[in-house]
């Protein structure tokens, strides 16, 4: 170390000691105080007797090792005092030197404070940036999702246009024949035979249109998941006979055989959606008859483990496994619609079966015919009274009113009113007609007709509402719905009876007579 002249050293030492307010004490190996130099009061270390354990008063000594040199910078000993502490060993004793660091502390602190605050701000900023990045990537994701949806929508709208074009074609054919034959029937020189033939064709075309519309509506409701089953009890043997009566002539026309086999195990009365069940079977049988050129079609019904097993087999051209796959795939994909009317029917059939909790199996090879089996879980109705409910006979006699009766009809379609009026007059009923449901209520209250025939989709509060209101107002005679809408069970309860348009007039008249006599 550099050696300075003694007088210089002394001089500097005096200067340093006076400015730095040095304080020093000596402790032995047991931390006992040996001697003190300087301003003890400044450090709160005055009045300590020699020999006292200094760790009490100078707590920083706790854990310190006597005999080792040590330097602790900026030790805050109290609110107002900060010191650099030096332990300087001397044999088995140690000098403890405190150098006041208060003046030095504040600028150091201020500098460090600034640095730390900057770092904190930086950290906070980084977090915000991170969060921002997250948000941006979320945004990007959302955008690509939206893009995807938009493309989907465009695709679906293109599909829709194609579908509409196809449907309008399907509609145009029967419409054209209706118009042409209607004109033909009106021609001056039309023979009775011409007229008869025209009317028959018009009726067939109209029925075809009706079924197209129903298929469309079903498809729309199925796609939107809005189709509800309306379950009720019905005689399924009757249904199968009915179908046979309907299909056998169609098959015969093409020179095909038609056979029905209903196993004796099949319960008579079941609880299911009859309309939908019928629709499924008509579709399967209709397709079978349509595509089979020779041979025949067979309907077989068995019952096992609470399920009706209905098998429709034909000797038609069959379906290649590729096409089978297509049909089922289109179905599974929930594809909105297939390319042809028949395909639409098949897809609907499959979906209806699924809706009824059933399953479909298809067994076919090209040129070897086709067998479709559906398995429909049904609730068996054991009530023998219900099972034997009489089916009304339908001779004309039953339609005629045996005493003068008045019927109120509410329908906003004038043609419909005219048609019903025609039949009711012929059967001897008096008629009150209105096209507004609120007016219907007023007139019913005023004239108290023997029966109300109500369309559901009419101006005013609507048919269902009107029926409910009439009941509230104490009208107790039958209210019969005659509507193109499909009613749910709750809505049906508002009516005594429910007829779906187009309803067979004869059946309607019989029912009106039954209800009013």
């Amino acid at each position: 170390m550099m050696q300075l002249p003694a007088c210089v050293v002394h001089n500097l030492q005096d200067e340093y000691f006076s400015s730095e307010r040095l304080f020093c004490f000596l402790i032995d190996e047991n931390y006992a105080l040996v001697q003190i130099w300087g301003d003890a009061q400044r450090w709160g270390l005055d009045d300590i007797p020699i020999g006292h354990d200094m760790r009490d008063a100078a707590v920083f000594l706790v854990g310190c090792v006597i005999g080792e040199p040590q330097a602790l910078r900026f030790v805050r000993l109290s609110r107002h005092s900060v010191a650099h502490v030096h332990l300087i060993p001397d044999g088995r004793q140690s000098y403890v030197v405190l150098i006041d660091a208060s003046d030095e502390h504040d600028p150091t602190q201020a500098k460090q404070q600034k640095t730390n605050e900057l770092r904190l701000m930086h950290a906070r900023q980084n977090r915000l940036i991170g969060r921002q990045r997250e948000l941006i990537s979320e945004l990007i994701e959302i955008r690509s999702e939206l893009d995807h949806h938009r493309q989907e929508a465009e695709r679906s709208s293109a599909n829709k246009s194609r579908f509409i074009a196809m449907m309008s074609h399907e509609f145009r054919t029967p419409l054209a024949s209706i118009i042409n034959y209607a004109q033909l029937a009106q021609e001056q020189d039309a023979s009775r035979n011409d007229i008869q033939k025209s009317v028959e064709t018009i009726e067939r075309s109209a029925r075809h249109l009706t079924s197209l519309v129903e298929a469309l509506l079903d498809d729309a409701s199925l796609s939107a998941g809005r189709l509800e089953l309306v379950e009720e009890q019905f005689d399924c043997h009757n249904l199968f006979e009915d179908l046979a009566r309907m299909m056998a002539p169609m098959a015969a026309e093409k020179g095909l055989s038609f056979a029905t086999f209903v196993d004796s195990d099949v319960p008579k009365v079941i609880f299911a959606d009859e309309v939908r069940f019928r629709q499924i079977l008509i579709n399967l049988l209709g397709n079978a008859v349509k595509f089979t050129q020779e041979g025949g079609v067979r309907l077989k019904v068995t019952y096992s483990s609470d399920r009706l097993v209905v098998t429709v087999s034909d000797t038609g051209p069959g379906i290649s496994s590729e096409d089978q796959e297509k049909v089922f795939k289109a179905f599974e994909r929930g594809s909105k619609r297939s390319e042809t009317g028949a395909g639409l029917g098949l897809t609907i059939t499959l979906r209806l079966v699924q809706l009824m909790g059933g399953e479909v199996s298809l067994d076919s090879q090209p040129d070897e015919g086709c067998t479709v089996s559906i398995y429909i879980p049904v609730n068996v109705q054991a009530d023998p009274v219900a099972a034997e409910a009489p089916v009304l006979p339908v001779p004309d006699q039953d339609a005629l009113a045996s005493r003068p009766l008045s019927i109120l009809i509410c329908d906003d379609d004038d043609d419909m009113i005219a048609l019903v009026e025609h039949y009711l007059h012929r059967s001897g009923y008096g008629l009150i007609a209105t096209s507004d449901s609120s007016d219907a209520i007023a007139k019913t209250i005023k004239y108290d007709p023997d029966l109300v025939l109500m369309d559901c989709n009419v101006p005013g509060i609507g048919g269902v509402g009107a029926a409910k209101l009439l009941r509230q107002q104490g009208y107790e005679k039958p209210i019969v719905a005659l509507t193109a809408s499909r009613l749910n069970e709750e809505e049906r309860r508002a009516f005594t009876r429910f007829f779906r348009k187009p309803a067979p007039m004869q059946e309607l008249l019989v029912e009106i007579k039954r209800l009013t006599h």
Binding site: V62, G63, Q112, N116
Partner: protein, 174 residues
């Protein structure tokens, strides 16, 4: 009553709440404002351990924050009986700092009783430390406390746990 005196060091990155934790424990007080600690601040607090018949005087060294110890800081740590590692739960980087500080301490002085404080638990909305990290801390330290110097939540328990570990350690050593 026997009097035990132990030196305890609070370490961790800057602004994690070391000073606030000490202030809460010693004076039951909290301040929102941030005042950077320079060097070291020394405080004492006596806790009674009746079941062991011991009064335990903790000499608490609140050491200036850093993510790495240098020569100056090692001087402060000499002779410590236990360590409190403080992490700011709203800044994951301070978890890494605590881990690396602990490694430095163990390298230099061997393993010692310690606890970990996940501080600022009152700021749940800004919480940045995930559960798997908490589990890892548990596995490593055995004692992890979600503390708040602001509400005082779990602060005392954490100190008592450390004190207990120090006593166990000292008694085993004797």
């Amino acid at each position: 009553m026997t009097l035990f005196t132990s030196k305890v060091c609070i370490v961790g990155d800057f602004a994690v709440g070391k000073t606030s934790i000490a202030e809460r424990f010693v004076n039951n007080h909290f301040s929102e404002s941030y005042l950077t600690t320079i060097g070291v601040k020394i405080d004492t607090k006596l806790i009674e351990v009746p079941d062991l018949g011991v009064s335990h005087k903790l000499v608490i060294w609140d050491i200036a924050g850093s993510d790495r110890f240098e020569h100056t800081e090692f001087a402060y740590l000499r002779g410590a009986s236990g360590y409190i590692y403080v992490i700011d739960g709203t800044r994951t980087s301070t978890l890494r700092s605590a881990m690396s500080l602990e490694e430095q301490v163990t390298d230099r002085f061997g393993s010692a009783p310690s606890v970990v404080l996940l501080n600022k638990s009152d700021l749940a909305g800004d919480w940045d430390v995930n559960e798997s990290s908490v589990k890892a801390l548990h596995a490593h330290f055995g004692a992890v406390f979600k503390t708040s110097a602001k509400t005082g939540d779990a602060v005392e328990r954490a100190f008592e746990k450390l004190a207990r570990r120090i006593l166990d350690n000292d008694m085993r050593a004797e």
